[in-house]
């Protein structure tokens, strides 16, 4: 039943040299394949960066537009030591975090509620689905009219996108809940509140986390775009402003930082998911 680890022998074959040798051979072949996969995954982007550097140095491409990687790295060092990059990063991260937290909490709560209360679902679900179809960034001018050029309008764009993604995911989780599990819950005494707390909520967590992963990526897109047009700090502003001042090296630094931020935030969500939903994680092993 339990799979073998990476070193121990199959039970009862210890004395059988041929089997032991064959197992060892298969294991080392498997390890070798995995090493090759890993080195290819690392080597490809590194080679592309090296190619870029060479191409710019030899003027195959225009280095004023395609700033070579080493110069971007120098520029990043300057932006970090001057404090510009850290302060832009903090500004973007704060907007994103506040908007994401509000939108995720609200969207999850409303989605679960709509899943359970049929009249509410009938009244609101079609409306929300229609509103979600509007690109949230298109709301920005309206939000700026209402709230002025403060933090509120910027945060609300993130709230909007996060809310709808979570609302739709949580609602769908409850609507497509395995009816056999609901029935088992009822058969074993889970009444309304207990059914929600002990059956519907834990069973909906995988879909909620899928929503969180999608929403954090979309939230980063929306806050970057918002900062392009309606901000004087943040990573989006850094990229946009560098373009306007024609400092492409700084623009690349901003873009790379946004990309790394996206990877890091997705990693945080995945780590949270592993803690909160260990059973779904194990299933895919």
């Amino acid at each position: 039943m339990t799979p073998l680890g990476t070193t121990e022998a199959i039970e009862g074959t210890e004395g059988d040299g041929a089997v032991v040798a064959a197992v060892a051979l298969l294991r080392s072949a498997e390890r070798r394949k995995r090493r090759i996969d890993l080195s290819l995954a690392v080597a490809t982007p590194l080679s592309l960066l090296a190619l870029w550097q060479v191409a710019a140095d030899l003027h195959w491409v225009d280095p004023r537009i395609f700033t070579p990687p080493l110069q971007i790295a120098r520029s990043a060092g300057q932006l970090i030591s001057s404090g510009t990059l850290p302060s832009d990063l903090v500004a973007t991260l704060a907007r994103l975090a506040v908007g994401f937290a509000i939108g995720a909490a609200g969207g999850t709560a409303v989605g679960l509620l709509l899943g359970v209360v049929r009249p509410l679902r009938a009244a609101l679900s079609p409306l929300f689905t229609a509103l979600y179809a509007i690109p949230q960034i298109a709301l920005l001018p309206l939000l700026l009219v209402i709230f002025g050029i403060g933090e509120t309008a910027k945060v609300l764009t993130v709230v909007a996108v996060t809310f709808f993604v979570l609302e739709i995911n949580a609602l769908s989780a409850v609507r497509h809940f395995d009816p056999r599990l609901v029935e088992a819950g009822r058969a074993y005494g889970a009444t309304r509140a207990k059914m929600f707390l002990h059956v519907l909520l834990p069973g909906s967590l995988p879909a909620i986390f899928t929503g969180l992963r999608v929403a954090i990526a979309l939230g980063l897109v929306v806050i970057t775009a918002t900062e392009f047009v309606a901000s004087n700090n943040g990573l989006g502003f850094l990229v946009w402003n560098s373009w306007q001042l024609f400092e492409p090296d700084q623009m690349y630094v901003g873009m790379a930082t946004i990309a790394l931020l996206g990877v890091a935030l997705t990693g945080v969500i995945v780590a949270m998911e592993r803690v909160a939903v260990p059973w779904a994680h194990r299933r895919h092993r």
Binding site: E183, A184, A187, A190, G203
Partner: protein, 275 residues
Amino acid sequence: MDLLQGPERASGSAEAAALEVRRVSKAFVGRAGQATLALRDVDLSVERGTFVSLIGPSGCGKSTLLRIFGGLEQPSSGEMRSATEQQRGGLPSVAFVFQDYALFPWLSVVDNVAFGLRMAGVGKRERRDRARTWLARMGLAGFERSYPEQLSGGMRQRLSLARAFVTDPDVLLMDEPMAALDAQTRLLLQEDLLKLWEETRKTVVLVTHSLDEALLLGDRVVVMTARPGRIKLDLPVPLPRPRTTSSATGVAFSRMKADLWAALRDEVERSLEHS
């Protein structure tokens, strides 16, 4: 003493009935408004401490009848009586075992077993202790912290049995609990179930598609007609207890199986024509 509680009880008085339905019918209405009659005028009583197998063609309403017995459905007409005693501390007097196990994937093995106890407000320590006892009894000791997805089909159904037995119910309702298992695992689980039943003498209603299983386990086998389901035959099974899987041999067994099939065959053909 155990022998006295065996098949002879099947013809016992009506007062001893743990579950009883009288002229029960059940209709369902689909989303498009189409109505289906699942059960029609069903009379059936299940005496306390007996094992009743329920058999019939697919879609004949066996599961619906089981759900009515368990209070998960209300009959459209007729009455359903349950003489089961409400247990102390709000524990349910009826426990279900489902065909596809219906285990909660987010709960560990031990917490799955303890689910009913938790809903009834039993303290953490006591429910864990009771769950562990039943896990050990079902041969699942050492898997407490695993998740259901990590278990084989046979282990999952044992887990599902432990979840049912741990609440110490008066009545166990089993809906094709072994239908999803391979033939060998099924034999082993039938033996487990025989042993468990002969030790605990719970009132059991078992829905099954297998003639052998129905006869091997049941004190009575009740055959239902094609939809709308009615009772067609109520056959006592006078095989001596304790039984083993080898009880499913011999002339008497074969004759009963032939009788069952004779009653069932027309119904299966009818249900095929309708579908």
